[in-house]
Subunit: 175 residues, 2 copies
């Protein structure tokens, strides 16, 4: 699969997963692909925790309500240190988004499915904070998203999108 094929293959999968475990070498390859993304002022603000221990997965899923990705045999949790890159400027959101996108492509490349789950854990009920405590993350790290990882067990519908060509133009705004 080349990069363009992986970009087309990537999809936001919200269905059930097959129980087949994801080998550690794949989880490692996915996380290392993520962490090779660039970061604002090279601050490397993103850190990752892969979870494949069934008891720990179950413990995390008790706080993820309503449930999502609970049948996946692994998940990758995304943590950030929301530090200033210079003066009062931060790029940590862009940093972790680029890490996540790299991981989603690596996941697709390896034949797995996933979904970028962020609003669900950073909303006012602060599920991410509870997940961070379960994982033993220090206070200065925020858990901002997680990706279930596994083999899809169901069909996946893709949501409708605007035509791509309605979102770009050449040599001036013409959309």
């Amino acid at each position: 699969m080349n990069t363009f094929e992986a970009i087309i293959a990537r999809r936001s999968y919200r269905g059930k997963y097959d129980p087949t475990p994801v080998p550690r070498e794949h989880l490692t390859a996915i996380m290392e692909a993520g962490l090779r993304a660039p970061s604002g002022c090279n601050k490397q603000t993103t850190s990752l925790i892969a979870v494949d221990d069934p008891e720990l997965l179950a413990q995390l899923h008790t706080v993820i309500q309503p449930p999502i990705g609970e049948s996946a045999p692994a998940m990758i949790c995304v943590l950030t240190r929301p530090i200033f890159a210079y003066r009062d400027k931060t790029f940590y959101k862009q940093d972790y988004a680029a890490v996540i996108e790299n991981m989603l492509l690596a996941i697709a490349e390896l034949g797995y499915d996933s979904c970028w789950i962020e609003g669900h854990v950073t909303d006012d009920d602060r599920i991410g904070d509870q997940m961070a405590r379960i994982l033993g993350a220090p206070e200065e790290y925020q858990l901002v998203a997680f990706l279930p990882v596994g083999v899809a067990a169901e069909e996946c519908k893709r949501p409708p999108k605007k035509p791509l060509e309605s979102r770009y133009s050449f040599n001036g705004f013409d959309m």
Copy 2:
């Protein structure tokens, strides 16, 4: 090149570019790869403008001070509508970051170089706003970043990075 190879090949290139033009079909493929990235609540907040007209490039580079990427035969400007995805929640930064990361990988896949230039244009002197006006973008769009695109004409040093394995762990925080 598979996805992992493109992720490793991608680099932040700040040197001079070869004047060889970038064909329209490549600029189109890069932008469409970008716009296939997922977006928070599928709001598709990111839009793109490719510039390959030499006069327009020169006009844009008069406002990009200090200069960067000025010898590249093309650039892709990244615009966002910073709208609410739901209630008071926005994901537009994550959205455009994922679009940019896809484009950087597509650029690497096609043998070009680039660099994610954001802080330079969104800083207090608001260079992005001046670029948006030159491009005729409506008020509700913010120009938040641009990517020069072209063939590198110089050697490129990669900055030092923390070891990847110091940024992830398994089944708990251990970094």
